[in-house]
Symmetry: D2
């Protein structure tokens, strides 16, 4: 079997029973038949890890008690069996340690977001990646949608003219009620020790910021922020708004909320240029609207007409067969698998070449969180966007 | 004929050929057959005024050369012929003088918005209204929609619990291009001498602020503002965002824009409480969405089911026969006509009783504009909302 | 005052208190300030007629006891006062007699739909119109919408290529429950003596057929019909489907229903040609969708871009200020007023020139009803569309 | 490893490079990590079959030259390696032969739809299934959506009352142009020798009929049909309409079209009962609308609130993370995998218990096609729905 056609072998840290995002990663990795889950340290409980692995039909010998054990044991396996990369799907505070150990053990890393607990770690992580010469992917899932890629291409082509205004919103409602101590998803996200200095901005605001920068090909340069803890007793933000200025001159408004009761996962972006505007909504992901002052609105649809190459490459089914969140997620896995195949064959392998979000996005994301929190605590309106750790 | 069934007699200042809003006022006034246009000073050009009156089939003797002439002549007519109120539909800078003269001449006033050129004038206008004991209405049109009234009622009933977050947006795109000197609508709005200290916030931001306060029954208490002149060479703002805090504790975001290319008149509001959220969009005005975390979304529709009394009273046609902007506008005229009938019969006549926006809304509107402009010029983030004129 | 600028004077038969459609006609007639209601015989009860007239601020001397009296008295008034036309808004079974007497008394007629009780009467009515040389308009309201006119223009221009398939639907739900004897709107429509041989097809199916023919510029040539009385105990149809073939070769499906519970007034049409399709829905009337196999959907919006002359002429407010049912209705009145002005000045005056539905549409509508009922009673699938009365 | 946790082993016939539906089956089977593709006869070309298998990282020894070879060789493998079932994804005319041989060779079958070339074969297939005591699944994909299952549950609970009217539509536009001889998807579907007696009704109309019967729990008892070959030169239908009567008394309209230019895959269903209506659209599959005459519309959303058990079981991600076509498809695979696990453990295993479409649906589907074609050829309007082969 040639290297190009063997499956890429994945290990997983986290994702034991009761977790949500681990299962999403497994489905996304499996969808295209290019990646095989071969091992895991699914839980800090060795028992839970074993049971999870068994339910996944894994070889019991490769259901490990800890990620340390996993990296050690896998490194000793013959190359033809050994995992290629590890998917990290644990709570935020352990991402960095696991990634660090994986890289130094010789494994590539795909990490759930945020990449690290703080900006300082993200900067260190970039150094580790460079030092160990391994690949790193970060699951900014929402950039995996075909119509997000279409929007990026249309803007790059100049279809909007200079960008003037960007409105990106990420409202959710699931934290509108006081968190049930039994709600595992809520409790760790609202705990500074596990989640970091921000809940809402760190969990979803950062997706919104990344989406704006990805589509527009521009970067946040200044911000004015106001973060709120709406529900009594919370230490971290559950809602907030960040005003933005971009290097290219565009102004922006970023809203993120976890207390917008009744909202599901309503990430939307609207971008207005000199000549036209674009609108996209994650909950109707296969539609991209281009609006004009003096001609009919154009509705671009996944799979219809002559879309951009990246949009087409991110599409699996014909028009009208809706693709959703898991397909967008799988696009990151698929692109990362292609990057790994190339790497295995000794090819130079930049994340951008493979349209894979990586450590640069990780650093900007962690910086966004720290800048937003810092600006929110200030009485001054505007602050420069800084890539230096705040503390 | 009893007083209750005679038509209310309207005069008009402004609205000559080439004007937009004058024709809207005339259609709104005519729709329900309760108001008769009897006279006008439609233009600063006596010739244009006469021609406009002729096209409207008015008595040529009541097509006046100026509003001063109109008020003087109408005041001398027998009570059974004399106009009851004047509709003011001129550019912003003349609203105050015309209203002042109308009130002192004994006429009631319905004014297009904004009420005056600045806050100081609005405060003076309130004194004139009180002094002359006449009625005053301000066309905050968007509160005339049935489903806006339904939203207000649902919140007043506590269906949302305490309000936490209000997002109100008013994007338009028609000023995305540099203004054509020939575009009458654009040129006066962008001219500080005619329009005042703000274009975008003064023209449409103020509608958004009024809508939020009307629906929620709450008032802005603090704000952080950033107004932009996006298109080169403009003296006034054509885009902006205002962060809000309300007296009841809710946080808000208000966006207004005239450079959001491709947007028509997309006023929308979303309100999130402890228990549920509400969403309404002016471009689909007959739908009101109530969203919940744990039960199906409810779509209230004009004319369907047991809506609130004010919503029902604002509805003319059965469900599914869409009512639009002119009907909302006509609701203000209809309610004002009812208020005038009551006044004619000697009844105490508060605007609120008749659901008519009036001088209090005018003052808050002018204050909103001055506060927003002032806050935008400051480096400090938050400012109290003040009812004192800024200059 | 020149003839061109005087208001057109309208009388009304029907529309007393408790009626729905009479009030709609009055609002539609009033909206543009071109038509003045001067008299009426609003009810078979002289008392109700007088009270209705009083509430409308009419001259008590022109609130008549009967339409016979009205036509006689108005004919004797000086030309400068006399009504120009009568609006007929009574139940179906009296339309013909009233129209006949109006025409022979020298008055123009605008009639609510259906024009007559049966096809035979419609044919006779055309003869009376020709004989008396008077104008006749029929309120096929839904063709009054700007985007319906835009659709017609786009098809006439060949933007769709040859039309292949037309799907027109008119679902309502208001007769899903057994009719309350107290529901005035329901009871007469379900009574063959007042309504004719069909309820659902006669009341709304005929609008759907007219809409298809108006937009496509083509005529029904064959049909296969199935009409149902879904709710027990009804003598007339409350639901039905008619398969269609058009003279130009297109195939069609027409569905009409009054028992589609939860539907408001959901008239929609979809037209597929060789090159593109068009979709329009009455409940979102300001949007017209053009769909293609290989390029983005185009959304045409009232007031945006370079629409067809008839669409622009039917538009009153700028883009994003939604126009609704009353504006569409008023477009028929406005066009009829223009036709009357032209007639008053001695100009030849074809309905088509003024985009006013008239007696030809009335005849086709009555024929549609009779053909549909007849085809439904047959075991044979297809029947030619005939303009000869069935009985 | 216990039997319950080993992966189910799948073989595939068809799905070589250039095929569309084979790849869809593979993704659907892979998504949940419960099924492993172990072998295939992917093409009538042994070369294509091998290459396809290689690209899928299969063991080259299990990439077979023909399905006959595959069944023979797999049958000889040890039980712990042997495939459990075969997925049949070839053109219609070979489905029966392959299924027959698989069953007689001891393998379970999952077949793409239609199950067979004609009704006679489907009846024979049922006998073969019974005789060989093997499981059989048919991919009526659209019943795999969570909100379709929710609709079924709500109707079963009586939330709509007795069903009165069903409108099910399946418009596509992709055959609006004359088929390119190079379009592999189009050419075989329009060829009677490969596709059978119907193109449009056989390919998509049958999905619509199945969806109606699945959701409503009722069966078609009579039909009136009209099938068209709209594009010149076609031997088979590319458009059609079927009027329906159901055993429970409901009336229906089924429209299917492949020439509705601009339509993607717009399967929709609307069901009206005595008390409420339901609407669902495949292109926005996570929304289910329940409409009422006298209360707000309810919008049920995948993942929100207390949905029916089958809907919840068919959901993988939280609300607002859209699930699409591949997830619906995967639900059939997942349910079939559960049925296979149960069978492997000796449990009685009815398709209905596992919510898997099977041979009964296959027979009704083939009967629908034959009845529709036959009724279309008749001049008589109504025909009983018969389960006897027509020829």
């Amino acid at each position: 079997m040639s290297t190009t056609t063997r499956k890429i072998r994945m290990g997983m840290v986290g994702g034991g029973s009761g977790a949500f995002i681990g299962e999403v990663h497994r489905m996304a990795a499996a969808l295209d038949g290019q990646i095989e889950l071969v091992c895991g340290a699914f839980s800090r409980s060795a028992e839970n890890s074993r049971k999870t692995g068994q339910a996944l039909c894994l070889d019991p010998n490769r259901c490990y008690d800890s990620y340390q054990q996993m990296f050690a044991m896998e490194a000793e396996l013959p190359e033809a069996q050994r995992m290629d990369f590890v998917a990290i799907v644990t709570p935020n505070n352990s991402h960095f340690d696991i990634a660090k150990q994986a890289l130094t053990s010789g494994f590539h890393v795909l990490s759930d977001k945020p990449a690290t607990f703080n900006l300082q770690q993200a900067i260190e992580l970039k150094e580790l990646i460079d030092l160990n010469q391994r690949l790193y992917a970060l699951t900014h899932t929402y950039t995996g949608y075909p119509m997000v890629k279409q929007a990026k291409a249309m803007i790059a082509e100049g279809q909007l003219g200079a960008i003037r205004k960007i409105v990106v919103e990420y409202p959710q409602g699931w934290l509108a009620d006081a968190p049930d101590a039994d709600n595992k998803q809520a409790s760790w996200r609202l705990d500074p020790a596990q989640s970091g200095i921000s809940c809402c901005m760190g969990d979803i605001g950062v997706h919104a910021a990344n989406l704006a920068e990805y589509i527009c090909g521009d970067q946040i340069s200044q911000l004015c922020a106001e973060l709120y803890s709406v529900v009594d007793g919370r230490e971290l933000d559950d809602d907030g708004v960040v005003l933005l200025k971009f290097t290219g001159g565009a102004k922006g408004v970023l809203m993120a909320s976890q207390i917008s009761v009744g909202e599901e996962n309503a990430l939307t972006i609207r971008i207005y240029g000199e000549k036209a505007g674009l609108k996209w909504s994650q909950q109707e992901p296969n539609s991209l609207w281009q609006v004009f002052n003096d001609q009919p609105t154009r509705l671009y649809r996944t799979g219809v007409g002559n879309l951009s190459p990246l949009a087409q490459a991110a599409t699996r089914t014909p028009a009208g067969h809706p693709e959703g969140y898991l397909e967008a997620f799988a696009n990151i896995y698929r692109n990362f698998a292609a990057q790994l195949h190339a790497w295995n064959q000794g090819e130079t392998s930049e994340n951008k070449t493979f349209d894979v979000p990586g450590i640069d996005e990780a650093i900007r994301g962690m910086a966004f969180i720290e800048n937003a929190v810092s600006a929110s605590q200030s009485d001054i309106k505007w602050h420069p966007f800084s890539l230096s750790p705040k503390s």
